[in-house]
């Protein structure tokens, strides 16, 4: 598959189901790890490995929804695909609200499972890429001097050099020098690229409270 080392973690307490899903996804070329209980998964999980989680909704001890919350608390952002032998609207709504990629009702067709897994892996890849980009930009931002940072903030806000110079109490010429140095450090050629990178690094607006 495209994401070479991405791995699908399957959690199901039913050994027969677990083995069958293992075989099915492997036969479709996925890298698969299986866990027979949420506890086993929590003990062995490695959030740094890219991939996604396919798990049963109802398992003894720790249910799928509780495991999903535990992963969120542990900042394990791997996307989750739920599979359930019992379609409950309430449970599926809760799962989707908590960020699940898909909710499949057993018995499901392999096409649906594969589509859900691919979507989950893509989501994981995208979020990991976004994460990496943010890290790079943050690194570059940290190399700016305070004055360069002041200029950057005002440039992104759409202000002209003249305005910036007035606000900072300095000459327009000096602003031009700071601005050129800042653009070089940030490794951007255009204002548009700078603005996009800047918005990526900003913390998202506070999320609405979730159920």
């Amino acid at each position: 598959m495209g994401s070479s080392r991405a791995c699908v973690s399957i959690i199901d307490d039913d050994a027969l189901v677990l083995r069958s899903l293992d075989r099915l996804l492997q036969s479709r070329g996925f890298e698969v790890h299986t866990y027979s209980s949420p506890q086993a998964f929590l003990a062995q999980r490695d959030g740094d490995i890219p991939g996604c989680i396919v798990m049963d909704l109802s398992m003894p001890g720790l249910g799928g929804l509780e495991l999903q919350q535990a992963l969120a608390r542990a900042a394990d952002r791997r996307p989750v695909v739920f599979i359930s032998g019992r379609s409950s609207v309430e449970a599926s709504v809760r799962a989707m609200k908590a960020g699940a990629v898909d909710f499949l009702t057993k018995p499901f067709d392999e096409a649906d499972l594969v589509a859900a897994v691919l979507a989950a892996l893509e989501k994981d890849r995208a979020s990991r890429e976004g994460l990496a980009e943010r890290a790079t930009i943050n690194l570059r931002l940290s190399s700016l001097t305070p004055r360069e940072r002041d200029v950057l903030g005002r440039v992104v806000a759409g202000k002209l050099n003249k305005q910036i110079a007035a606000e900072l109490g300095t000459a327009e010429k000096t602003v031009k020098v700071h601005r050129a140095r800042m653009m070089r450090k940030m490794q951007f050629d255009s204002l548009a690229e700078l603005v996009r990178a800047w918005t990526v690094t900003q913390p998202p607006p506070p999320a609405p409270p979730q159920a």
Partner: protein, 572 residues
Amino acid sequence: MDSHSASSASATPGLTQWGWGSGPLAGWAAPALFVALGYYLAARVGFAFTLQPYPISTLWPPNALLLAALLLAPTRAWWWLLAAALPAHLLVQLESGVPVAMVLGWYVSNCSEALIGAGLVRAFVPWPLRLDSLRNAGIFLFCGAFVGPLLSSFLDAALVSLIGWGERGYWDLVATRIFSNTLAALTVAPLILTWASVDVSRLRAAPLARYAEGAVLFTGLLATCMVVFDLPQIDPHTAPALFYAPLPFLVWAALRFGPAGTAGAIAAVVVATIFGTVNGLGPFAGSTPQETALEMQLFLSAVAVPMLLLAVVLDERGRVELDAREQRMQLTHLSRVAMLGELSGGIAHELNQPLTAILSNAQAAQHLIANKSADPEILVEILRDIIAADQRAGEVIRRLRTLFKRGETQFQRLDANELVDEVLGIVHGDLMTRSVEVVPEFASALLMVHGDRVELEQVMLNLVINACDAMAGIAPEQRRLTIRTRSIEVEDGAVQISFGDCGTGFTPEQYAKLFEPFYTTKPRGLGLGLSISRAIIRAHHGRLWGSSIPGKGASFHMVLPALSTRGGSAVR
């Protein structure tokens, strides 16, 4: 049977053996033939039972036969049946050399007796009449066997006097007719009515032992009657005691063979008594014919009425009990099905698991084969898993089918631990989806009980579901259901199975109502579970009760008498 029989025919098998079609040609021929033939034969019997030398018949069955025929037929067919009796009447009476006017007069009075009796009965009991309740039997006896003969006897005697046949006085004639006709109505009509409504298929299904019992009863009855009523030279001092000799057999018939058997037994006693008496034998012989006939008729009527009523009452009570049992069984079954409905989500889960495994395994194998990367060993494993999953699904279906089935209670030796395991298998999916953890504390010893598997599983299922419902409000990781089986040391031993939840429990006020029907604390509950469960456990000679620490949980305990584990068969 006619093809377009009346709609009620199917509801009352046996009673309406003839299809009462729309007109005389459609299905009315057979009843008419039956009435004509029966009337003729009955008249010949009546003649045979005439005391000589005076022409006083002690039993005149043709009228009773007409009465029974009218009661069995819808009112619109009555004229037809009465008309059918006319040729038979003419034939049999003209053979005996009676003037035509008298013959016709008797036809009128005979028909009037049947019409009065049947008309009165019909006024109170709609067609078809069945002698299956005290009310129906009472109405029949009063209207058909008393009022009908009484009223028609006046007419009969008046006609005889008017036509001037014979030389006996009016009141003498009335008295003779009343008793002769009453006795016939008491014995012949119930015989026909009860036997016409006998369910032939049930008769055929009866075990051989029943037939043997019936044969013994009737042989004994006939032999007793012949000894008592058909032998000469009875000591007058022992005569009253001898009258009672057939009674045990009649009671036997009433207890064991219902109204039909009793009517048959009464008929046998009547025939044997009259046979002896008209031949000058038995305890009634020796007086004047009038006195003899009257004594005998009173005796037979006095025997027939209470015996018939006793049989009807016993039959009615038995049927009511049977109905109640049938109803209880239906209710038990219904509540079981309702409970399985509640479980359906969990059951779907139980079936979906193996189905998922089968589908995914098969699709994996497809890919492996298509990619030519199929390792035979892996394929063997896949097939093994598919078979295992299929068997598991089959097991789920098997368990369900047993519970859905509706059948007679079947008591057998059962292992209490195995029962609990089976129940946990059924609710496995539900326990899972409700995050309930089961803590089994099973006795290691074999705990054998005697009971109906399905009903005991129903009780346990009910207790498990109740426990799960009770824990719906607490945190999922705290939902624990403890199931304990143990043997308790009481006289003869007992097995206790307890289900303990850690829900909110119940208060003493709630407990007082817990086992009442239609009391429920669940939003969608019927409130029948515990009351039916307790009824089931009582029928198993056991006990079902609950205990609770409010706020900490509730426990329900069922105790059943233990069976010896050493393979003994103390209870069969």
